[in-house]
């Protein structure tokens, strides 16, 4: 006998998704992020339409005789920068860098944080002590000072930026996940699994991981804008993505010199950065609210941001 309709339960995830779908702020920020993704994807298309590759310098049409950038107009829609490059095309390419760094770095941070947090919470004892101290140390490190030193040592680049951001972000996640794991460890379903002969891997990844999943997703969403900001900071200080590759951060850094005469250099990348990070933050908050309805005691709100 073949079942015609499969009875599939609406689990916590579906419920959260449905709550999210009714949240206007979440929809708005999701659309903003979607637009950013589309802009990132269509960057080469924009370059083709405008005829301005992102690193091409237009000394004649894009710069005044004393190097003053040209404002928004028919030729350069969002103006040019101090080297006569098209700001619009560079913002589009910068979106790629920002999203890539944001997603990869926070993904990495959340992955490391979740694994370390679960391991510390599950194993307890000396493992917990060592991992907890490690997290304390990482959290107390001065990010900028060390980032500057490391970037200077290794040389700036996309990879090192991602590594630095992930390295300085994972401990926040780890600490929260550890606290949750410690409480989950005492739950009867964990004992039930142990009674069945389950190994550490089963308990950590099958029993515990889904339980911290909500926290992990909320943190991932909130870490993305933080990571984009980190990358912008690093690039701003000349230690992120090396020029001439555009990133919002190094565009803003370049803009600092020209703000008196070229407001568009500050406004457009700044708006892109603020808009996208704000959208991710709003989405993160909404995801947290959706995953954390009052009656569900198993998810605790993220205490840190």
């Amino acid at each position: 006998m073949k079942q015609t309709t499969e009875i599939r339960g609406r689990g916590p995830w579906q419920l959260a998704y449905e709550r999210l779908r009714r949240d206007r702020a979440a929809i708005g920020s999701a659309i903003t992020i979607l637009i950013a993704v589309l802009v990132a994807l269509s960057a080469p298309l924009l370059a083709q339409i405008t005829g301005h590759p992102p690193t091409m310098q237009f000394g004649h049409t894009g710069l005044g005789p004393t190097g003053i950038p040209v404002g928004p107009g028919a030729e350069f829609w969002l103006g040019t920068d101090g080297l006569g490059r098209d700001v619009l095309v560079r913002i589009a390419y910068g979106t790629r860098v920002s999203l890539l760094v944001g997603v990869v770095a926070s993904g990495l941070a959340v992955l490391i944080g979740a694994v370390v947090g679960i391991a510390a919470g599950w194993f307890g004892g000396i493992v917990d002590t060592i991992l907890s101290r490690l997290m304390d140390v990482v959290l107390s490190l001065p990010f900028l000072v060390l980032a500057l030193a490391l970037a200077a040592l290794v040389g700036p680049g996309l990879g090192i930026s991602i590594f630095l951001i992930a390295f300085f972000s994972w401990a926040t996640v780890g600490r929260v996940v550890r606290a949750e794991a410690k409480s989950i460890r005492e739950r009867e379903y964990v004992q039930a699994a142990r009674a069945l002969g389950a190994g550490n891997a089963h308990i950590m990844f099958v029993e515990m991981l889904p339980m911290v999943g909500a926290t992990v997703i909320v943190y991932a969403t909130l870490l993305i804008p933080a990571s984009i900001g980190f990358e912008a900071t690093l690039s701003f200080l000349g230690l992120g993505v090396p020029p001439p590759t555009p990133s919002w951060g190094n565009m803003l850094a370049d803009a600092m010199a020209y703000y008196k005469v070229a407001w568009w250099l500050l406004l457009f990348p700044g708006a892109a950065l603020l808009g996208v990070t704000y959208a991710f933050n709003v989405l993160g908050d909404s995801v947290r609210d959706a995953l954390d309805p009052k009656h569900d005691q198993t998810i605790k709100p993220g205490g840190q941001s």
Partner: protein, 608 residues
């Protein structure tokens, strides 16, 4: 999360931009011709402190500039907006500038005699005359083991017996007692106090530029009290003495320096320091971005250690802001930008050791684009010789590898690359310091090199890392950590016979060790010989000829790729008047400015 910090910076900058806009509407009368006013406090803001407060070792432009206030040299460059006047030495502590004509320089050009003005005073207790022995002490302390002189070869290679004196002194224990004992018991054969008012210096060989070396603040008089402290130690910095118009009354490291009038100073003995303001207050540790803003807002009068960003200056000049000044005046420049070319690196099979590849580099660079992004023709100009106009060796019409309109010649460059065996171009590691004008020039250079077939990858470095570690260490060049690097050079003094301060350190192939500034390890015996001729020339003309030969050879060899000669640009507050150029400080001379809103307190006092 970090993004709010960036947002705050943005907001701050936007606000500042708006504030700047309103401020700019206030029209300023240029009344430099009006009668100067005595009095007032000159307010300066800077990001970092002096490198040294001791004249023996202070070398940063800011330090040299500060020394104008509380030290005097035997001879000095007078501050002036007339370039030729500004580079012509005048008597300072000495009664006159020695010359063969006045008998100050012996006929064999080996002995220099300085007669000191009688009314030079230290502000010691009690007030005491500055004597020839104080200058002798300065030369003796050049090689103290704690903080030696900034540029030892200038003096060790010229003054008789100083090299030996130095070798011995560097072995002395670095203690107050050790240094004092050595200084009191050992004499430099070539430096002698004939009497309190007469100093005699003998040279190893003729050196036409020696008089300029004496004008450097390194050779300022050193009072006997300085032997009570380790050179430039924190204790020393609290006990500086002055023989200039001002004395340091407060020094808080990295925070504040205050200078006030030195009552022991005799104005009549010092024609090159009018010293209009009563007090000079320097606030340190200010964020570089804020320095500019404070000056624009009028809460500070000048920047202490920072040049203006070229882009700031070009944008302000574009709107005709009268508070912006570029130095030096006229068709002269204070610094140059060039590409150091690593000739000992292993990359691409040592391609850069081939002349044709270096020639391709020289031809490829679009120097007009660099001028454009560096503030335009008012402050920068294309450079097609290994040294800039204003350095001995530069000759009008001696340009090499120039291209039409200085736009670069990618076709010719590609052809040379092909002839050198690189038809597909070569990859290059291009290092540059992360500083606004360098960063933008590096990207403009990259664009023009790319057109000629070089695949250029940019490697940004923190400024201190770039000049402090990457370039000075020859191992980094040998390992090929960089192929080309964006360098800048400011001669220690502009004009005059200054090849020693440019061509020797940059192009002498026999000085390639640690800390050598010949970063690319260029070495050509023809050039070396020309440098030797210039250094040992008895007359200015012979020296200039030697420098010109050396420059022509380096340019032909593409020892570096010269790119730009640039001026220094500064902004001052609208109340600051008589901002005249001082070649030691490379900006407004602090002993010459006066304040439009100052109240003349001294004349009031006289009335009572």
């Amino acid at each position: 999360m970090r993004w709010p910090r960036i947002a705050a910076t943005l907001l701050l900058t936007l606000l500042a931009a708006l504030a700047g806009c309103t401020d700019r509407r206030i029209t300023e009368e240029t009344d430099d011709a009006a009668k100067p006013i005595r009095g007032g406090t000159l307010r300066l803001v800077g990001s970092s402190d002096v490198d040294h407060l001791s004249t023996t070792s202070g070398y940063l432009t800011g330090s040299l500039w500060l020394f104008r206030g509380f030290t005097r040299q035997l001879v000095s460059n007078p501050p002036s907006d007339d370039f030729d006047k500004s580079i012509t030495l005048e008597a300072d502590a000495a009664i006159e500038v020695p010359s063969v004509e006045n008998g100050g320089i012996s006929a064999d050009a080996l002995t220099y005699t300085f007669h000191l003005k009688p009314k030079l005073r230290w502000n010691s207790t009690p007030v005491r005359r500055v004597v020839a022995g104080d200058f002798v002490r300065a030369f003796k302390l050049f090689c103290n083991p704690v903080n030696p002189v900034g540029a030892p070869p200038y003096y060790t290679s010229t003054i008789e017996g100083l090299d030996e004196y130095c070798s011995a002194m560097l072995k002395v224990p670095g203690t107050v007692e050790g240094i004092r004992r050595f200084v009191e018991n050992n004499e430099i054969p070539g430096v002698r106090a004939v009497d309190d008012g007469t100093l005699e210096i003998r040279l190893r060989a003729p050196a036409a530029d020696f008089i300029y070396l004496v004008a450097m603040p390194f050779a300022s008089a050193v009072p006997v009290e300085y032997l009570d402290y380790l050179p430039d130690s924190p204790e020393f910095r609290q006990h500086t003495l002055s023989n200039g118009p001002y004395a340091i009354t407060r020094y808080l490291q990295n925070r504040e320096i205050v200078l006030e009038r030195n009552p022991a100073w005799d104005a009549a003995s010092d024609p090159i320091r009018p010293a209009w303001v009563d007090r000079i207050q320097i606030k340190l540790g200010i964020d570089p971005a804020l320095i500019q803003l404070q000056i624009e807002a009028g809460t500070a009068d000048l920047g202490f250690d920072s040049s203006m960003l070229t882009v700031d200056q070009s944008s302000l000049q574009a709107i005709g802001d009268p508070r912006v000044s570029s130095f030096p005046p006229g068709e002269h420049y204070s610094g140059m930008r060039y590409l150091a070319v690593n000739q000992v690196g292993p990359n691409n099979g040592g391609a850069l050791s081939q002349l044709k590849v270096r020639q391709a580099l020289a031809l490829a660079v679009d120097k007009s684009a660099l001028v454009q992004v560096s503030g335009g023709p008012d402050v920068a100009s294309p450079l097609n010789q290994a040294v800039m106009n204003g350095v001995s060796g530069w000759r009008p019409g001696a340009d090499q590898y120039s291209t039409p309109d200085d736009r670069g010649d990618p076709v010719a460059a590609r052809r040379l690359l092909t002839e050198a065996g690189f038809p597909d171009g070569i990859p290059l590691r291009f290092a540059y310091p992360v500083e606004a004008s360098y960063a933008i020039q590096a990207q403009a250079t990259q664009a023009s090199l790319t057109r000629a077939g070089f695949e250029v990858t940019l490697f940004p470095f923190a400024v201190s890392d770039f000049f402090g570690r990457l370039l000075p260490n020859p191992q980094n060049a040998k390992r090929g950590e960089w192929d080309i690097a964006l360098g800048g050079w400011l001669p220690d003094w502009v004009g005059g016979n200054n090849g020693r301060s440019v061509l020797s350190p940059l192009f002498d192939g026999r000085q390639l060790g640690n800390l050598s500034q010949n970063y690319g390890k260029y070495d050509n015996p023809i050039t070396n010989a020309a440098i030797d001729r210039a250094l040992s020339a008895a007359t200015q003309e012979q020296a200039e000829a030697g420098w010109a030969d050396a420059t022509r050879q380096v340019t032909a060899d593409v020892g570096i790729v010269p790119m730009l000669q640039v001026k220094s640009t500064y902004m001052r507050s609208s109340r600051l008047r008589h901002c005249v150029w001082s070649i030691m400080g490379m900006q407004c001379d602090l002993a010459s400015v006066w304040l439009a809103d100052a109240v003349d307190e001294s004349s009031n006092k006289g009335d009572r």
